[in-house]
């Protein structure tokens, strides 16, 4: 009986073992919130074709928050495996720091991309 239950669990696990995929962007910056930065814009693109924008969101930074800021992305089955992130921190609408990084992610796992914002060139 136990064997049957195990086999059933394995079968069920095998069918549904796909799990969820997440991407966590750990964005570091030498900035104080909200004195130095009050907004964070994150744009995700296909690394192979940067004209393909997969997401573009602006978050309001509030007092009490501190860098590094973690932004959670949820890729779909159609999301390219290689991504380019463009992150811009701004204060009163003016960019104060930014960075562009490329990273990959793995289906069924939580992938992390750690990078820091630097001065705008």
């Amino acid at each position: 009986m136990t064997t049957r239950l195990l086999l059933t669990a394995l079968a069920v696990g095998g069918v549904c073992g796909c799990g969820d995929s997440y991407i966590v962007l750990e964005i570091a910056a030498d900035l104080k919130i909200p004195d130095d930065a009050d907004q964070l814009q994150v744009t995700t693109m296909d690394a192979a074709d940067v004209t393909q924008i997969l997401a573009d969101q602006t978050f309001t930074l509030e007092s009490g928050q501190r860098f590094p800021i973690e932004v959670l992305l949820e890729p779909s089955d159609a999301t390219p495996r290689e991504l380019r992130e463009s992150v811009v921190a701004s204060k009163a609408g003016l960019p104060v720091a930014s960075n562009e990084v490329e990273h990959s992610w793995t289906a069924g796992h939580t992938s992390r991309a750690r990078f820091a914002l630097g001065p705008i060139p």
């Binding site: 059933t8 669990a9 069918v15 997440y22 966590v24 928050q65 932004v71 949820e74 779909s76």
Partner: protein, 232 residues
């Protein structure tokens, strides 16, 4: 006048009194055999006839026994035995004739027997011993009294017998041309008694369990400050 009335009353008493007595005097097992035959219960006909043979029979009853044997044998397709029984009937009652509405099958067997009987020179069975006639038939019967040897020897054997001398029902039905054919009204077994139903239920249960396990075991998303942001 009073004497005439008394005589009439006495006559009535005698008449009404004797009629049931005469009816009761007829061999009880033979009566049962005749009733079973009328009810198309041929297996019991043979059984009652065998019991009737064990008691003393009048010539008329003997004829009736052979006649019933002949009918039952013919009905079961045991034509040779039916012929022998008819021969015994004819030996005891040469003027014997079948009823007008007798089936062609029975009539054919009887005519066969009659031809044989005539070819044998129309033999007649020896007269029953003294005391075994019509007078004896009305007398009290001892069921345990042995039957006449002649009658027993002449009676055709029953081919299908069990320990109780009962013909098995299956044999009865197979041989009985008058038996109503059994019509199968068997309904299909309910779906819930079929294997595929339980297989389907099993698949559904396993699927539902899997979905439940998957939904419940879905990992919490990692900690974050913003998001989740769905990607195309």
């Amino acid at each position: 006048m009073a004497v005439a009335r008394a005589l009439a009353l006495a006559g009535a008493v005698v008449l009404f009194g004797l009629a049931p007595a005469a009816a009761a005097a007829r061999n009880r097992n033979l009566v049962k055999a005749e009733k079973a035959y009328a009810d198309l219960d041929y297996g019991h006909v043979e059984r009652w006839l065998q019991k009737a043979q064990k008691s003393q029979l009048s010539p008329e009853e003997t004829v009736a026994v052979f006649e019933l044997y002949a009918f039952v044998h013919a009905i079961y397709g045991r034509d040779e035995q039916a012929r022998e029984a008819f021969l015994e009937v004819l030996k005891r009652k040469p003027e014997y004739l079948l009823a007008a509405d007798t089936s062609p099958k029975l009539r054919g067997v009887f005519l066969d027997a009659k031809r044989t009987w005539e070819a044998q020179g129309s033999p007649v069975a020896p007269a029953p011993p003294v005391g075994a006639g019509a007078d004896a038939a009305t007398a009290e019967r001892d069921p345990d009294e042995p039957a006449e040897e002649l009658k027993l020897a002449a009676l055709p054997p029953v081919t299908v017998e069990t320990k109780n001398n009962a013909v098995p029902d299956a044999v009865m039905r197979r041989n009985d041309p008058l038996a109503v054919e059994s019509v199968s009204h068997r309904r299909a077994a309910p779906f819930y008694t079929r294997w595929w139903f339980y297989a389907a239920v099993g698949v559904v249960v396993v699927g539902a369990s899997g979905a439940l396990v998957w939904a419940l075991s879905r990992p919490e998303p990692p900690s974050h400050d913003f998001g989740p942001v769905p990607l195309k």
